[in-house]
């Protein structure tokens, strides 16, 4: 699908949310804590492909999407869109980027203004960018409605008159209004029932093929990610732990977290019956105070002393293009010589943070 032209390049992206220091903190001179939502993420998206960004809640996948679109101000790092640095764009350049890169949000109930008609919602981007007159905009709205599987006659209806799946179609039509090249799809189907979810996934695939779109598909549902993606990046606690071609990630995962994640998913098949899952223990540690070394070491069944002492880089493993942030991919690493970590002891270390694990 891809013609190997890099459309988007993310390099060392960080987004930290500073917490307001209380008066007591100031008096005592305590350091201000920050939530490290995204902490050094790098990846590329090639022209015409779908990159799946997958992870559990609180891993920073949505923040990554918002930050690379400059909807949130990045703490550090760089994003290049078609070769230009997004964060350094000014005026007309930024406006052009805003036209070429769009976003579709998760919740079709809160992402549409209830007081605007479907037509007004879809053509609002045209108004913002001052494109076309009223008559042309209305025609464009009708055309887009038909494009996403609704009917032109619904142009004057309000969001409450549509079902969840239909609203998500309106959200997609709005994202298409400016003929973008790149769309960030932030959990676009997770609020929908499975039968409707399948309709929307098919629509997204059709649109990609016809319009040559490039997608960043953010989701927590591994089956959906496998279905739609060409390549996948797996996030854990603000970092990408593994990335690579979709089949390699799902059939031969190199990072223990990816493996555990895949094992946990219940398959809709009779062979699933009574399957014992060696479930990942404990909760995700707090992103305020992530574990030293490899962030996954507090829950990893293969953790050794080296994992606590050293932060892993990313290493080639498995097939070409597959990269993992685990020492186990490096044959000569001192990991293999170090002692296994006592997981129970590690649990005690992380205990204070387990309570805050959910966001």
């Amino acid at each position: 699908m891809s013609d190997d032209r890099t459309l988007l390049e993310v390099e060392g992206l960080k987004k930290h949310y500073a917490e307001n220091a209380t008066l007591l903190d100031r008096l005592l001179g305590n350091e201000r804590q920050s939530v490290k939502a995204v902490d050094g993420v790098s990846f590329r998206v090639e022209q015409g492909e779908t990159l799946g960004l997958v992870g559990e809640s609180g891993c920073g996948k949505s923040t990554t999407g918002e930050t690379l679109l400059a909807l949130e101000e990045a703490t550090a790092g760089d994003v290049r869109f078609d070769g230009e640095s997004v964060f350094e764009m000014t005026g007309a350049e930024r406006a052009e980027f805003r036209r070429r890169a769009q976003v579709v949000f998760q919740d079709p109930f809160s992402s549409l203004d209830p007081r605007m008609t479907a037509g007004e919602i879809i053509t609002e981007p045209l108004v913002v960018h001052d494109i076309a007159d009223r008559e042309e905009r209305r025609d464009r709205a009708k055309e887009l409605l038909e494009r996403v599987g609704l009917s032109a006659g619904q142009v004057d209806r309000y969001p409450h008159e549509f079902s969840g799946g239909q609203r998500q179609r309106i959200g997609i039509a709005r994202a298409l209004a400016l003929d973008p090249e790149f769309i960030v799809l932030d959990e676009p189907v997770s609020a929908l029932d499975v039968s409707v979810q399948a309709q929307i996934l098919n629509l997204l695939e059709d649109l990609q093929e016809e319009l040559g779109l490039t997608y960043l598909f953010i989701a927590h549902d591994l089956s959906v990610v496998r279905h739609i993606s060409d390549r996948v990046a797996v996030m854990y606690l603000g970092e990408i732990v593994e990335r690579g071609p979709v089949d390699a990630i799902f059939e031969d995962p190199q990072h223990p977290y990816t493996g555990k994640l895949l094992e946990s998913v219940p398959r809709a098949d009779t062979s699933e019956r009574g399957r014992r899952v060696d479930a990942l223990e404990g909760d995700v540690p707090s992103p305020r105070n992530p574990p030293e070394g490899c962030r996954f070491h507090t829950r990893c069944p293969y953790a050794r002393e080296a994992c606590r002492a050293e932060v892993p880089g990313t290493y080639d493993a498995g097939v070409s293009g597959q990269r993992t942030a685990c020492f186990r991919a490096v044959e000569s690493h001192e990991y293999w010589e170090s002692d296994p970590l006592d997981l129970d002891a590690a649990d005690v270390d992380g205990e204070g943070s387990t309570a805050e694990a959910d966001d």
């Binding site: 039968s195 591994l222 279905h227 998913v265």
Partner: protein, 389 residues
């Protein structure tokens, strides 16, 4: 084969809202055997949660169970209330209200989707579980007094509370039992965690605590309504393991309600598929997953992307979940407007038919005869006249 613990017959639940009557559950029948996990699967608005609430008698106004019977195996009660009895079974809907309530705990227990909103944020987790233990203990002593703190003890109690705010309702023994229960559901350092408040627990831990609370009365039947839907997939795996372990240890029955066919496949022996308030197909896991006869079940299975063997294209069900407003529901197969195989016969409400196999049944005419194109309804049959599509 295990004996039946519960037999539900033609249960209907209606909601009488300002917009009209909503037929949330429509003549639902199934049975729950001793020591089995029965799955009920459906999409949002299919009536699966209301079915659960109807079972444990927790449907609240404007809703009401309007018809049907819920037969519980309980020889003692059957003897005491011969009018409501059928052999060893007793019809719960015919029992006095107070007695019905006293069955909640020792007979039924329920866990919900969202543990955060199921706990009181201002009382420690241990205290809330101890309270459940206390209620059960008092209920055993006197079945008529099963009130909990949240229901209050009248004006006198209210005044006393004003003066002595920290008054304890639970005894030390109940508190110890609560810690024991927390340990059984796999909460580390249960004695310390018992003194923490719900916001100090993670979602997975709080779901464990809710299970501990549900176990306080040692129920015969646990009704679990989407118990893992709010959780991440790795935490879901933990909770499902826990549910299966406690089910096996206590030989309880579980009714597991979910929208996730994967969860059903991992956990259940038998399954019912709900659509528009009806169970449209039921049978063993193999019947429903490998040999579905109802086009809705087939569509549901075709809609799910396969994790291990991705199909190039999904086969979704067209259209949307129907309205359950009585005034908008025609007397016909409720799935006909979305069904790729709708025929003239489908304009009559289909009864349930046996579909081969001891357990397998479906509400669909296709059980009796093959799809016949000559008999098919025109594609636009259900489009509103003068509609815009």
């Amino acid at each position: 084969m295990a004996r039946d613990l519960l037999r539900v017959e033609d249960l209907s639940t209606r909601f009488f809202t300002g917009e009209g009557q909503v037929n949330a559950v429509e003549s639902v029948s199934f049975d729950v055997r001793e020591g089995e996990i029965l799955g009920i699967v459906g999409e949002s608005g299919s009536g699966k949660s209301v079915t659960a609430l109807s079972l444990v008698d927790l449907v609240e106004s404007p809703g009401r169970v309007t018809a049907g019977q819920v037969w519980l195996r309980n020889p003692d009660l059957a003897e005491e209330f011969p009018d409501a009895a059928d052999g060893e079974f007793v019809d719960l809907r015919e029992l006095p209200k107070g007695l019905r309530r006293s069955l909640r705990g020792p007979t039924f227990s329920m866990i919900f989707q969202d543990p955060m909103s199921s706990f009181n944020p201002s009382i420690t987790v241990g205290e809330q579980i101890a309270e459940a233990v206390e209620v059960q203990r008092r209920a055993k002593a006197n079945p008529r007094s099963t009130r909990s703190r949240t229901q209050g003890y009248g004006l006198a109690s209210y005044l006393v509370d004003g003066v002595v705010p920290g008054r304890d309702y639970t005894e030390d023994a109940s508190h110890e039992r609560a810690v024991e229960l927390l340990e059984q559901v796999g909460i580390p350092d249960p004695a310390e965690r018992a003194d923490e408040y719900p916001h100090e627990f993670s979602g997975g831990m709080l779901q464990r605590a809710m299970i501990a609370q549900a176990l306080a009365g040692e129920p015969d039947l646990l009704v679990a309504d989407e118990p893992t839907t709010a959780l991440d997939v790795t935490i879901q795996a933990q909770i499902l393991e826990l549910l299966r372990d406690i089910q096996a240890e206590r030989d309880m029955s579980i009714v597991l309600i979910t929208h996730d066919l994967g969860v059903i496949a991992r956990m259940c022996d038998r399954v019912g598929v709900m659509y528009a308030g009806e169970i449209v197909e039921r049978g063993t896991l193999e019947d429903v997953f490998d040999d579905p006869v109802h086009p809705y079940t087939q569509g549901l299975i075709g809609s799910i992307p396969d994790l291990d063997d991705p199909a190039p294209r999904l086969q979704p069900i067209e259209g949307n979940v129907p309205s359950l407003l009585d005034s908008e529901m025609d007397e016909r197969c409720y799935f006909a407007d979305r069904c790729p195989k709708a025929m003239r016969d489908c304009l009559e409400p289909p009864g349930e038919r046996e579909a081969g196999g001891e357990e397998h049944a479906a509400r669909c005419v296709l059980v009796d005869h093959e799809y016949d194109e000559l008999d098919a309804l025109p594609d636009d049959y259900f489009e509103p006249e003068g509609g815009d599509r």
